[in-house]
């Protein structure tokens, strides 16, 4: 990790390639679920551009990953605040494009059911209120501790835990119809 940071600070192209390779997918998924499918790729690129611009001032006081997801989180929240309220259904349809989990008809029934469950869960995550979704994604995609999340959001630890609790309850409720207990 130190080597990556030193490489980034020295402006080495291979360090940025590694950054994108190691974190691109996670950042993309985080951004996609928090800000939506349409701006996800651009916002992910913007995260890396911001890292490029500010890596010289990065001080390793916390974990690098937390710093990275803090940038991603701020960009997403700014984006969500700026954009007009969109019809969530169309966005949802786009996010979960029909062919995303398309399954070959010859595949076993269990596989199709599993894919349906996965799709339903992502659907449910994207329908969470933004505050709960933020905590859930920082935890599950960003790998951040609740303490780090609380610090990032500027809220008490109990608030972060509470939001995660409500998120989990909502997801469990949504998944009951798909055979989850």
């Amino acid at each position: 990790m130190d080597e990556l940071i030193r490489g980034l600070q020295a402006g080495r192209p291979e360090a940025f390639e590694r950054l994108v390779r190691d974190y691109g997918d996670r950042i993309y998924r985080f951004v996609k679920r928090l800000a939506g499918e349409r701006p996800a790729e651009d916002l992910t690129q913007e995260v890396f551009l911001r890292v490029h611009r500010s890596i010289e001032s990065y001080r390793p006081e916390g974990r690098f990953e937390s710093w990275l997801f803090t940038i991603a989180n701020h960009l997403c929240i700014d984006h969500v605040r700026r954009r007009k309220p969109e019809t969530s259904l169309s966005e949802l349809d786009e996010t979960l494009a029909p062919d995303r989990f398309a399954s070959d008809a010859r595949e076993p029934l269990e596989r199709m059911e599993e894919e349906e469950r996965r799709r339903a869960l992502l659907d449910a995550v994207e329908r969470l209120p933004v505050e709960q979704r933020q905590v859930f994604l920082l935890r599950e995609e960003g790998g951040m501790s609740f303490r780090e999340i609380a610090e990032l959001l500027g809220c008490p630890l109990n608030t972060a835990l509470g939001r995660m609790h409500y998120a989990m309850e909502a997801l469990r409720k949504s998944m009951k119809a798909y055979g989850m207990p």
Binding site: F16, E17, R118, E140, S145, M168, M175, M180, P181
Partner: protein
Amino acid sequence: MECPEFVDEKIGETDSLEFREHRAACAGCRRDLVELRELLGLYQAASTETYRGGVPRFRRPRNSWIPMAAAAAILIGVFALILAGPRTEGVKSTESGSGSAVFMRIPLEPWASDVRVASALDDCWRKLEQLEEKKR
């Protein structure tokens, strides 16, 4: 979720002795833990999209705050020269100590918007104008 006093532990942040003892006797909490684990496992299995954007070109965008900050630094320098008054001895006069320099720190987060940068620069202008007023 059962036993709300142990919600924090069940979400996964801590595993206190008290909770370990409690869940040994509480089937509801054990069930909660299994269900939460299953849910998060399913999420991890489902969340598999990949980023296809590649490494961005690290060109400095035209609306970046860096050129704006550079422009501000130049303006600050110009104001500093104005505040120092006319210099009659050319370059050597800088050693006299009569000249003044103005340094301003503009704390900006990496995600600061252009509006925020523009507002910070406006603040700089205002402060410089105040300094100029005082000098007069």
